[in-house]
């Protein structure tokens, strides 16, 4: 059991982790999610007593790591797969770690077999692929047969077979009653591997809940409905009609409607009754990745901007029309991955806390909803179908 209480770490005036409290329980795989630079690795280092917290504390089995009796036999960790002297061969690398912890040498050959590196045991780790390096790091974590295991991004660089292997390894370790704490920035991977999720952004706790709760709260089915762009009054008419029938209607950035709580045929019937034409009526499922993006979007440290290529642009001949800027997903668009949450009420993320408070439909629950949407402008040429097609280009994950 790992327990963090009010964990805070500052480097100079930069706060890497702020007031983080959580518990990692034995017998389960706990996923530790967060964008790059959100403080995952810092937290892991504090758990291992490598970095001293500025405030708060983290304990393993009730002891701070540096006071833990026989620490390497109780806790195994993979922090950085590249943290290996390239000139040393794999077996010697593990051997010196084993000797450091007083583990007999035959255990080295055992773990080499477990991670499938027995054939390259005498090869210098310099020539290892990233995936082989990860396996070597996992072998090092398993050396002491520890009850508590920490893995920082263990599937980075692994092939699909390797990812499956890591997934099964984590699950089997947890099934043996061990505490398994795995960090990742891939929600989809954690949804398959973890039993419990701890999500942080900018060093602060965003969510601490079971994967099952996360899925049931965030993978709501919905229908996308699009009325003719040329007739906004039809859209309002349909919204009113659907709301009256008990559906939840949210506007999307491109002018479509997201409808929850009503089956597709019923939406079609209601539209027909209201005398509203539909340009689109399609079933969708919000992915976990989407829910995770929505949760962490405010906490992303590194956001790309649109590549202006200002220095490369040629003078356009007079009268020529500049080529249209094709939007690139994720570039320079805050809230790009931010479809409205399944529930209304300003909660950026659905925590399991009963029914969300009801709010006025169409309230700016969508981040960035107040701004005009550059891709859903009222079409200057009403008869052209092109504007309607544009959003599909810009939302590849929803276009499927």
């Amino acid at each position: 059991m790992i327990e963090a209480v009010g964990l805070t770490k500052r480097y100079g005036d930069k706060t890497a982790v702020y007031n983080l409290s959580f518990q990692v329980r034995p017998g389960a795989v706990t996923g530790f999610l967060g964008p790059n630079g959100s403080g995952k690795s810092t937290t892991m280092r504090m758990i291992l007593g490598l970095d001293d917290p500025t405030a708060g504390q983290v304990t393993i089995g009730g002891h701070p790591y540096r006071k833990l009796p026989n620490a390497p036999r109780q806790v195994g960790a993979l922090l950085d797969a590249k943290a290996v002297h390239g000139g040393r061969h794999a077996r010697n690398h593990l051997l010196c770690l084993a000797q450091l912890s007083g583990i007999p040498a035959r255990r080295v050959d055992e773990v080499l077999g477990v991670v499938g590196l027995q054939d390259v045991a005498k090869r210098r780790s310099k020539g290892f692929s990233l995936g082989m390096g990860q396996r070597l790091g996992i072998a090092a974590a398993l050396l002491g047969d520890p009850q508590v295991l920490l893995f920082d991004e263990p599937v980075n660089g692994l092939d699909p077979e390797g990812i499956l292997w890591v997934r099964n390894l984590m699950k089997s370790l947890a099934a043996e009653g061990r505490t398994v704490f795995v960090s990742s920035h891939l929600m989809s991977e954690m949804a398959l591997t973890a039993d419990h999720l701890i999500v942080i952004g900018r060093g602060q706790l965003l969510a601490d809940m079971s994967v099952r709760d996360f899925i049931s709260h965030n993978s709501a089915d919905f229908a996308r409905v699009r009325t003719p762009d040329t007739e906004p009054q039809q859209r309002e008419k349909l919204t009113a009609s659907l709301t009256e029938a008990g559906g939840q209607v949210l506007p999307e950035q491109d002018g479509a409607l997201r409808v929850m709580g009503l089956p597709l045929p019923r939406i079609s019937d209601l539209a027909h009754d209201a005398d509203v034409r539909l340009w689109e009526l399609s079933p969708h499922q919000a992915s976990l990745e989407e829910a995770y993006m929505r949760m962490t979007q405010g906490a992303v440290d590194y956001r790309s901007t649109v590549d202006q290529r200002a220095g490369f642009l040629q003078e356009l001949p007079p009268g020529a029309v500049p080529p249209p800027q094709m939007p690139v997903p994720g570039q320079g668009q805050p809230g790009w991955y931010a479809p409205p949450p399944p529930q209304q009420g300003g909660h950026p993320f659905a925590m399991p806390q009963g029914q969300p408070p009801a709010g006025p439909y169409g309230a700016p629950a969508v981040p960035g909803a107040g701004e005009p949407n550059p891709y859903a402008q009222p079409s200057p040429a009403p008869a052209q179908p092109a504007p309607a097609a544009a959003p599909d280009l810009t939302k590849p994950e929803d276009a499927r």
């Binding site: 490598l50 001293d52 922090l79 943290a83 290996v84 010196c96």
Partner: protein
């Protein structure tokens, strides 16, 4: 118990990388070869020396002349032993396995120091005997007064240079930074400061200037150095202690 584990582990670490063999081998070869070469030159030039210089002629010290260059290889050895941990990131794995940082550092240094002493002592004896055999009629004998002390002192000097480098590398962590400071310091700066009359008063207390006194058997005629062979080595030991303690304090306090 923890210390013996670290010692065993560090021995595995040190013998399983090529840089150990290279740096220690180079230190021995360069010290001996250069010593022999300079001994041979000295023998040929002896007759041209002034009377004062003839009186100051120190065959033992001359056979150790290669150390000025050989010590650079030992500096690389000392720096790499420590900073390899940092440049690879192994330090985190190591400190997670041995949370007692003092035990870790001192066991690591003990292993490297013993190895450096063994190599240094052998190098020193080989350099002495080969150097003397080249010097011919001007040679010193191991039984002469102060000679055995000088030869063993040569091994100690090489060891202390390596330990000093380990301490500095522990403080600085980066191999490039450590080497970038230590190499020019010991190869140029210290020698200049120790020989230019204006800075000599201060320069003679620098670690290598003071420490190399132990290898001197014949005191130069106009020598005004305020310490003897063991005093000089003592000054060097103080420098080494400062470096090692500084490294320990920083390692203990710093985030890994």
């Amino acid at each position: 118990m923890a210390a013996t584990q670290v010692v065993r582990s560090e021995w595995t670490k040190i013998r399983s990388v090529a840089s150990t063999v290279w740096t220690l081998g180079l230190a021995a070869v360069v010290t001996v070869a250069l010593g022999v070469l300079i001994s041979w030159f000295s023998k040929n030039e002896f007759d041209k020396l002034s009377d004062n210089e003839k009186l100051s002629f120190d065959p033992t010290f001359i056979s150790f002349a290669g150390m000025s260059l050989g010590q650079l290889a030992l500096i690389v050895f000392g720096v790499l032993v420590v900073s390899n941990e940092y440049s690879t990131g192994m330090i985190r794995t190591s400190l997670a396995a041995v949370p007692q940082r003092g035990t870790f550092l001192f066991s690591k240094m003990a292993v490297a120091t013993c190895l450096a002493f063994a190599v240094g002592l052998i190098t020193s004896f080989v350099a002495f005997f080969l150097g003397q055999s080249v010097l011919g009629v001007h040679k010193a004998s191991i039984g002469d007064s102060g000679v055995l002390r000088a030869v063993i002192g040569g091994g100690l000097y090489m060891t202390l240079i390596a330990v000093f480098s380990m301490g500095v590398a522990t403080m600085l962590r980066s191999p490039m930074l450590s080497l970038g400071i230590l190499m020019p310091f010991f190869f140029l700066i210290s020698a200049i400061l120790g020989n230019v009359s204006a800075t000599k008063k201060f320069g003679q207390f620098l670690p290598d200037q003071a420490g190399s006194k132990i290898m001197q058997v014949v005191t130069p005629v106009d020598d005004d150095v305020p310490y003897g062979p063991w005093g000089g080595l003592g000054i060097m030991v103080l420098w080494v202690l400062v470096a090692v303690v500084g490294g320990y304090v920083l390692l203990k306090r710093r985030d890994a």
